[in-house]
């Protein structure tokens, strides 16, 4: 097992390289550079000034040389400095990472603890009122764009009802709060973003776990469990559920990239001080080092998520043993 994990970690290196190359190329292909973003709107800036900026950032060198320079710095865990404010990229990311992790972990938990029971109960009571109701909910979940729903909910809870704050992570007077007030403040700020980023996943996972459970309930070993004389509850929650969970566990890792990807949109909508918003702002400013830094961290989190899913897979399914 340890050897397997070590090997998987080694394999992540070429994968990461590939991801960084693609990110690097794509970001340089997009029109406009950091110098334009800083100066483009001002007619007073001369062409020489722009060229000076270019050479300052090293943007006058050929692309592969730029990539190589970036990569060699990365080897020393040096993500470079932001073009925009000259701060270390790693610092900018580190101060944003906790907010992103908080948001994502919470929505992941929400997805699993709500979608899983919904799916299981729907399967066990197939075609019941509950099952049909949930099918409608899932249909909505798939069809309603989350960013649009986010705006509607902000309007309802933030503007009309005034119950929840609509942006940021803290209130303005946060530093003056007591511990419990601080906690409550953060929770209030979390409700909408967590719900919105969990929304799509809720629909998807509940459908998926329903299918998985239905599939398992048809299996011979479920019949064996009944034939043993086990009460129906144990048949379902011991014999069937344990097997239905196997494919769902893999989703845990696979849904991580989607959450991080979604973070770019939702964090921007809710002005959530996370990595996604940092990435979005960096893209808008063509702040290459920050974009690359966010890309690398997001890729790393995704790959780690996959690895964790694979390892859990081996734990829940005895038929899988990695060599």
């Amino acid at each position: 097992m340890l050897e397997y994990i070590a090997r998987r970690l080694l394999f992540m290196i070429p994968l990461l390289l590939g991801i960084t190359i693609i990110t690097f190329v794509v970001i340089h292909l997009s029109p406009g550079g950091p110098a334009d973003m800083l100066t483009g709107l001002s007619p007073k800036v001369s062409a020489e000034a722009k060229a000076r900026l270019h050479s300052l950032y090293g943007l006058d060198k050929p692309l592969h040389v730029q990539y190589w320079l970036w990569l060699t710095r990365l080897m020393r865990f040096d993500f470079g400095e932001s073009f925009k404010d000259g701060r270390l990229v790693i610092m900018k990311i580190l101060e944003r990472l906790p907010a992103t992790l908080l948001l994502n972990v919470l929505s992941l938990l929400l997805i699993f603890f709500i979608a899983l029971p919904i799916g299981i109960i729907s399967a066990v009571r197939q075609d019941s009122f509950f099952d049909k109701g949930m099918t409608v909910f899932v249909f909505l979940g798939f069809s309603v764009p989350a960013f649009w729903l986010a705006l509607l909910l902000m309007l309802l809870f933030g503007v009309f009802l005034g119950w929840l704050p609509i942006s940021g992570m803290h209130s303005v007077n946060f530093p003056y709060f007591s511990f419990w007030e601080k906690l409550w403040d953060v929770i209030k700020h979390l409700i909408l973003p967590v719900f919105i980023s969990a929304f799509g996943g809720l629909a998807y996972l509940s459908r998926y776990s329903r299918t998985s459970m239905l599939e398992v309930l048809r299996q011979d070993y479920v019949r064996t469990a009944r034939a043993k004389g086990l009460p129906e509850k144990k048949v379902i929650y011991r014999h069937a559920l344990r097997n239905a969970l196997i494919p769902i566990v893999t989703l845990l890792g696979l849904s991580l990239p989607a959450l991080i990807g979604g973070g770019f949109i939702f964090e921007t909508i809710f002005a959530w001080p996370g990595m996604g918003r940092l990435g979005y702002q960096a893209i808008m400013a063509r702040d290459y080092p920050v974009i690359m830094g966010v890309g690398v961290i997001a890729a790393l989190l995704t790959l780690l998520g996959n690895l964790i899913a694979d390892i859990t897979y081996a734990f829940v399914d005895p038929r899988i043993r990695y060599r």
Binding site: Q126, Q219, D220, Y221, R223, T224, A225, R226, A227, K228, G229, L230, P231, E232, H239, R242, N243, I246, V316, D317, P318, R319
Partner: protein, 328 residues
């Protein structure tokens, strides 16, 4: 011991109603091995499952009839009472042991689960472990301690079926229903499992319902046979009688389609006779023919076979046949 009375079972498939069992009755006596023979789709597995009420509600249901176990109708028992009989006093083993064992639990745990469920003497966990080993030795597993800790996929098909048998016997049942217990296994293993079942039946005084499509297995193991066709019993007699004096044309056809050992050995290449097959096909259960359900394939069919399904008649003593021409 166990009596099935006029059992009707229906399945629903694609909006159609399929009559899987039509007016099926049988009696299982104490310490007896009763064989139920028929082609696939004739309703024999349905019969096995309905005895323990194991037909999934969404797929089908018992429409009418009784299943009497020691005078009590299993079909009318409360769930709670049913669970005290199912897997406890009546156990069942299935065709494919690989899919019938839960892949994520160790075999020992699966047996222990049954033991705990039907734990009559309140065994401690240490005693349970001993009991598992005893059961695995009973079904002739070489290394019971290793088997206990294995997952089903680590065992061979024969070993998996032994585990299934051990599990079925863990409650010390009175009746064992074996639904094609050897069909999914290699021929050599089939023999071992059958011998094991026969031996255990004698040793433990079990009454067994053995469901199979293989007359060879019946000859080896059963005292009495019921032959099923299209959801109904067409012939019933003691094994010897069925083999030597088959009265229903379907039973005759089935027996003629068996290769006998002497024949198979004595044929030279050019003499090789083709095994006789029954002409035609098993009728579509959602669209059964009128009258005797076998008449479209029957070599002795006459006009009178077509309008009405024949009654089961006792032609020779204890030899029942559902054919109007039997005994002609």
């Amino acid at each position: 011991m166990l009596e099935v009375k006029n059992l009707w079972v229906e399945f629903y498939k694609g909006g159609k109603i399929i009559q899987a069992l039509r007016d099926t009755s049988l009696i299982l006596k104490r310490n007896e091995v009763l064989g139920i023979v028929g082609e696939s789709g004739c309703g024999k597995s349905t019969l096995a499952l309905s005895i323990l009420k194991l037909i999934p509600e969404k797929e089908g249901k018992v429409v009418s009839g009784k299943i009497l176990f020691k005078g009590e109708d299993l079909l009318r028992l409360s769930d709670e009472k049913l669970l005290k009989i199912r897997g406890d006093r009546i156990s069942i083993i299935f065709q494919d042991p690989f899919t019938s064992l839960n892949p994520v639990f160790r075999t020992g745990n699966q047996i222990a689960e049954s033991l705990n469920l039907h734990n009559k003497q309140n065994l401690s966990s240490h005693q349970i472990e001993k009991e598992i080993i005893r059961l695995l030795e009973l079904v002739k597993m070489d290394k019971p301690k290793d088997t206990m800790l294995s997952y089903p996929h680590q065992l061979s098909g024969g070993m998996q079926q032994r585990v299934m048998i051990a599990m079925a016997l863990s409650s010390d049942p009175e009746i064992l229903i074996a639904d094609e217990p050897t069909t999914a296994l290699d021929v050599t293993i089939q023999k071992e499992i059958l011998n094991l079942l026969t031996e255990l039946q004698k040793r433990l005084g079990l009454s067994v319902v053995l469901i199979t499509h293989d007359f060879g297995i019946v000859a080896q193991t059963c005292q009495r046979v019921s032959v099923m066709y299209a959801g109904i019993i067409v012939e019933e007699a003691v094994t010897w009688e069925i083999f030597h004096n088959p009265l229903h044309p379907y039973t005759k056809g089935l027996l003629e389609s068996l290769p006998s050992r002497e024949e198979a050995g004595s044929f030279s290449r050019d003499e090789k006779r083709r095994l006789k097959a029954i002409p035609g096909q098993v009728p579509d259960p959602s669209n059964l023919p009128s009258g005797c359900k076998f008449h479209p394939r029957c070599p002795k069919v006459i006009e009178e076979c077509k309008p009405q399904e024949p009654r089961l008649r006792e032609i020779v003593q204890n030899h029942w046949v559902r054919c109007i021409r039997a005994g002609d």
